[in-house]
Amino acid sequence: MPKIIINDKEIEFKDGMTVLQACELAGAEIPRFCYHERLSIAGNCRMCLVEMEKSQKPIASCAMPAAEGMKIKTNSKMVEKARKGVMEFLLVNHPLDCPVCDQGGECDLQDQSLYYGFDGSRFKENKRLVKDKYMGPLIKTQMTRCIHCTRCIRFATEVAGVPELGAIGRGEDMEITTYLEKSMASELSGNVIDLCPVGALTSKPYAFEARPWELKKTESVDVMDAVGSNIRIDSYGWEVKRILPRLNNSINEEWISDKTRYACDGLLKQRLDKPYIRKDGKLIESNWDEVIDLVSSKINSIDPKRIAGHVGCMSSLETINSFKKLLISLGTNNFEFREKPFYINPEQKINYLFNSSIQEIENSDFLLLIGANPRKEATMLNARIRKSFVSSGLPVFSMGNPGDLTYPYKIIGETTDDIKKFINEESEISNKFKKSKRPIVIIGESALELKSGKYILEGVKDFLFKNGFINDKWNAFNILTQNSSTIGAIDLNFFDIQQENNFAFFQKLEKKEFDLLYFLASDELNFDKENEFIIYQGSHGDKIAQIADVILPSPAYTEQNGLFINLEGRLQKAVKVTNPIGSSKEDWKIFNLLNKKIKNNELFTNYKELIDDTLSKVKNNTGFDSLPNLETKNIKLKKGELVSEKILIREIDYYFSNAIARASKTMSDCKLIKSKKNQNRLTG
């Protein structure tokens, strides 16, 4: 490995590193504004100047490739003077409004001016004033503060794949803007706020809410989709103020989707804080004793076979486990987690996971989507596909038309017959596929929802296994699940599958075979109420709560500890941030109360028992945050029936996909803007 001398210390560095990276290896911190690890190099802020031997001038370390034998100094007089000069120029036009700036306390410019700033200004002229730009309901702008680092522009074009930000004008008149001040059409737009080193781009919903040092910071996991992005939840008192990404290279890197970031204001609205009972068609406030009495007497009066339970999209493993235990104790097997009848095969864990893992998408050389729209269904995963496309030109093909994915792809068929041709190696694409070394096939829930769902899943698996694409080193078989509770629910066998009938629950529901339906935070099930008695247990008054006969308030995902398994099979912990509001009780405690009333015993005596029981049921578990240990040799193969039909990709109402998002004002603003945009597109 080549060597470089930094501050008289010799260190080894990897080929292709920049001087700045080498300096970091040596433990010398370099101040910077424009440089960012995950974006291309711009080299325009000049803050990272260092001294290089044999160079008259200081060099910009972020843009200079490190070379053998370079002698770099990062702490000399010359360096300090150079950086002070750069800082003085940056501050020439930067307003002194830190006391009213939302970036205050976490501002790169503020922090660095502490070391390189002068105590007074020598600038006597007027400061430049820049008109604020409209960038949509998520991003608040204060463009006078902008120091033109262009991080936001590079993020939008490179990572988000929506080239809508740009720098117009030049010199002193340069301004950052979106094209004609339209809002950014990206699900990742919120990340430019984190990237902005100053307070030019700040969060609109969080404007003037709190100072960073007042907030309690809790590291947790996102539940808005099945990706399980790592997040930091900042709370003030009992309120969740904002959600920020947390670095996890194997899942979300350092980005999160807008829904993850901004749906948190939905945690304050539409909340169920007290138990309710429907009397004469109206929901009347009640108390726990009355509700438990009513529910238990109702349950006792109904044949257990006619009782059913459905779990929602954001429930944790413990909740599902204790719910299942309650339902079994009541004597029923009618429970389900799926919102739409899509085919699953729970026999082996490989059948329902994203086996290739998100990180390995970067090493892939062929990607085939079958009935999936990763942009809407798993935004962070889509960002990874785009990253792979940008860095190595990953060829992407799709069966079915998912619309704009932020990278180019080729549609190679829109019917199930095309899938048959692919599986039977009758089409060109199968040959191309077989020639690739590390291919990835992603099957979406939309494909599994088709009549030939079983054929697709089993057929593709069969094809991949026979061609050696499922082995210890590489597993090309991937299912793209949409909800954070899905993998956990399959692991805990929370479904009603009888032998070959995958949709027993849905058929019974259709035939009106249930007299009592227990919804656990579930709002997405397509269902018409007739005479059923409906119990809704959850945090938000949404679709089902409106038609419920009894409402049991339980905490949202930020208010109770919970285990989640993401779509790759990683077991992760979501942590309790604030106390549940009102008189809501944790889910498993409610089940305990009910079971005690009906069967006279508790399901779990304490939380530890619940956790241990739940963890023991997780299949192929290898501990927290790691990928499961999967069987790749003994794959059980099945056959499904092919029905000729078109592959329709179900349109997802991205900003309204769950109860918390629907309660969020920010999300409804986003939806409004988006629908307006679509209208504009239609009218010209």
Binding site: T157, E164, G166, R170
Partner: protein, 202 residues
């Protein structure tokens, strides 16, 4: 120079005329197929020539589509270069050079005359809508200072009197022909056609 403002009244549509379209296709041929974007600057000036010396937003969009590049990038380029006008400049667009050599030879007076004859502020249309003026940096004709450029023509070797005459001619829509206004041939010596060492045509 300040940031260019997009005109408040915009035409709804823009399309190259057939001859310009053919020309644009020819321009595209000069660049490699995967570097189509490089043609953005000639196409912008083509659009400007076609549309009375200014580029409407519809044209930016049209060129973006033509070269399959994001609109914002076309917009960035159009705002970066001073030669592209994003709002109407009239039939006669007067650009007065005010860089040092011209300034030394009295271009400030010409600016003053522009203010009187055309409009109070730069980049503002005259009352009859035929002219506008602006100050620009060096146009590379220092030998004939002071000078100004009107559309594509240079009016050189000006003084207050000739400047007034020229500007009047534009306002009246009867333009004088360009060139030196002291009867010089290009930038050749004015009286004796000699160079210092006595060498002819050195």
């Amino acid at each position: 120079m300040s940031l260019k403002k997009v005109h408040h009244e915009q035409p709804e549509k823009f399309e190259f005329t057939q001859s310009n379209f053919d020309l644009a296709k020819k321009i595209l041929e000069k660049y490699p197929k995967n570097r189509k974007k490089s043609a953005v600057m000639p196409l912008l000036s083509l659009a400007q020539n076609q549309n009375d010396n200014w580029i409407p937003l519809a044209a930016l969009k049209y060129i973006g589509k033509f070269l399959s590049m994001p609109y914002i990038n076309v917009y960035e380029i159009a705002t970066f270069y001073s030669m592209y006008n994003l709002s109407p400049v009239g039939k006669y667009f007067v650009q007065v050079c005010t860089t040092s050599p011209c300034a030394l030879r009295g271009s400030n007076n010409i600016v003053k005359i522009c203010k009187e004859k055309i409009s109070k502020n730069p980049s503002e249309l005259s009352e009859n809508g035929l002219c506008s003026w602006t100050e620009v940096e060096c146009l590379g004709a220092c030998v004939n200072a002071p000078m100004m450029q009107v559309n594509t023509d240079y009016y050189e070797d000006l003084d207050d009197l000739s400047a007034e005459k020229i500007l009047n001619s534009f306002v009246d829509d009867k333009p004088l022909s360009p060139g030196s206004f002291r009867n010089r041939k290009n930038s050749a010596p004015e009286k004796e056609k000699k160079v210092s060492n006595g060498i002819k045509n050195a």
